[in-house]
């Protein structure tokens, strides 16, 4: 509702404060260990202002520890963290002003939705604390932003998981945070709600423009949502890149396997090239003249089923067919290769009757990533 002048200009000022320039985060040589276990091992990373960054990795890879270290919730032994160049390591949590969304949301269960969102404003030092009317106005605006109008008086136990998630977000945004950090934001939700919230988080990020980091173990979520993805493994960064870079040019065998949907082959490279499934591909990492044992990763859609006449590929036997979806998935066994491999073929091939269990076919790789084996 547009209202008279005074309120409006105040509103604008407020808006301007929320929309100050997004913050850049520099993590330099960060280290943290629990006994012998290195949770973070010499991590360096720059998060660009306004970026939506995903920390991706399996459990125990250090991604949550890194997020908590940036928030100031976990003390680190080595390295520094800078917010816009300013050393944050010595700042208190209050001074850092990070919006942190916990995996289980950590909503205050004895407070209503309204009181949860208002908490961060009410605990400010007296001279910085907004007046009650102003707090109410801001809380309502945030609840509007997260589409939870009308739930102000409910308790956390009385709303759904997805709604709790959004309350947690609104609560984190209420303190006008410098950065927004989310720990497994969709981890506790069922598949359908996850998808919806994912799109919504993307929109919210566009709207707030905040530098945002989220942790996930779901590669699809990371690739779909983030501007850049950091893949972590055992306290180290394995690869940083845009989703396209990560997908097209995985830096290591680990990244290939973690992203999944690949078949792995042992092969031998000669002068920087290796032959796999009837195709010849260069060894990655610019290892131009590598010769020796190598690993090849081929994705399902990078294997073509070719007819017997063309016969330039490798013979394979169809073991199972999953005839649904835009492309048909076929399980094949290849002589000399232990695991069955999955291949997608166009529907027409299946409808033409060439694909059936027990039938022999020829396959050929159209693309592959080759890594020296060590």
């Amino acid at each position: 509702m547009p209202r008279a002048g005074a309120t409006n200009s105040r509103h604008d000022r407020d808006e301007a404060r929320t929309r100050r320039a997004p913050v850049r985060i520099d993590v330099e040589e960060l280290g943290k260990s629990y006994g012998d276990f290195a949770a973070l091992d010499n991590i360096s990373l720059t998060v660009r202002p306004g970026e939506l960054l995903a920390l991706l990795g399996p459990s125990g890879s250090g991604k949550t520890t890194l997020l908590r270290a940036i928030a100031g919730l976990t003390a680190t032994e080595e390295g520094t963290i800078r917010f816009d160049g300013e050393d944050a390591t010595s700042l208190s949590l209050r001074e850092r002003r990070v919006g942190f969304v916990f995996q289980q949301y950590a909503l205050f269960r004895h407070m209503t939705v309204f009181d949860n969102v208002a908490f961060g404003l009410r605990v400010r030092p007296r001279d910085e604390r907004p007046r009650p009317g102003e707090i109410a106005r801001r809380v309502r605006r945030l609840l509007e932003l997260v589409q939870l109008q009308g739930l102000e008086t409910r308790f956390p136990s009385q709303i759904s998981g997805g709604q709790r998630q959004r309350v947690a977000l609104a609560r984190a945004l209420a303190i006008e945070p410098t950065v927004l950090l989310l720990d497994e934001p969709f981890g506790a939700l069922d598949a359908k709600v996850r998808k919806e919230l994912r799109r919504w988080l993307r929109e919210l990020h566009t709207e707030t423009g905040l530098t945002t980091i989220f942790v996930t173990h779901d590669q699809e979520e990371a690739l779909e949502l983030a501007d850049r993805v950091v893949i972590m493994r055992a306290g180290r960064i394995e690869q940083i890149g845009t989703p396209a870079e990560i997908y097209d040019e995985p830096a290591t065998p680990y990244v290939c396997e973690f992203l999944g949907g690949v078949a792995r082959f042992d092969c031998t490279a000669k002068d920087g090239e290796a032959e796999i499934l009837g195709g010849l591909f260069p060894v990655g990492n610019g290892d131009g003249d590598y010769s020796g044992p190598a690993l090849a990763y081929v994705r399902a859609h990078e294997i073509a089923v070719v007819s017997r006449e063309q016969a330039e590929g490798v013979p394979a036997l169809i073991r199972a067919v999953r005839p649904f979806g835009p492309a048909i998935t076929v399980e094949l066994s290849i002589e000399g290769h232990h695991d069955r491999i999955e291949v997608s073929v166009p529907r027409e091939l299946h409808d033409g009757g060439e694909i059936a269990v027990g039938q022999g076919v020829f396959v050929r790789a159209t693309s592959a990533r080759i890594f020296p084996k060590d």
Partner: protein, 277 residues
Amino acid sequence: MQIDESRAVKAALIATSFLFLGLVLILPLASVFTEAFRRGAEPFFAALIERDALSAIYLTLFVAAIAVPANLVFGLVASWAIAKFEFPGKSFLVTLIDLPFSVSPVISGLVYILLFGSYGLFGPWLIENGIQIVFAVPGIVLATIFVTFPFVARQLIPLMEQQGTGDEEAALSLGASGFQTFRKVTLPNVKWALLYGVLLCNARAMGEFGAVSVISGHIRGKTNTMPLHVEILYNEYNFVAAFAVASLLAFLALVTLVLKSLLEWRYGGELAASGRH
């Protein structure tokens, strides 16, 4: 952890707790043993082997030997009915079993006097038939069972409820009889909680004072339990002897605490549902 209290605050809180616990718990315990040995070891042991003391020790053991097994059996029976079946009024029944915890021990003794005393409901009939309950050992046993009534059941019920009926159903489906199922499946599942309950039940049974004091009649050498004997000695200003017998009871309490803690540390998970009371 970044958000904890400062070291100074922690140290102050720990120190305050130590001071409070030292004053409230440790000092009284220490004083029992110091007073008992005030005149050396000889009067201490003399007080324990004196005839009335021995009969008090004997009576205490005798009463516990009846009351504890009685409540053990009751605890098992009641927790089977309550934990393994669903029926309306369950929580009310549990409250009734817990009732003795809310009743003053003195009243626990009084109720039996009102029933079985010479002016009581069954008094005349008992006198006619020459049965004495009040101011005699049967009354002491009854009052002890009353005050220790909930101890075993309240350890078992929450644990057995938490364990559910899956194991028993499996045993029955494999052809075991009802009693075999209880003995070979249910009992092993709750054995540590049972032991824990028995331990606490026994400590209370041997240490009960108020209820027993009301109903015993304080007949020396006949109806005196150890706690009552302590009182009599104290009232006769025989302090060393009073504290000697008291120290025996305190020692029993310490043994109970040690065993209880060992059970908690070793089998904490299997006692977990019992809420540690």
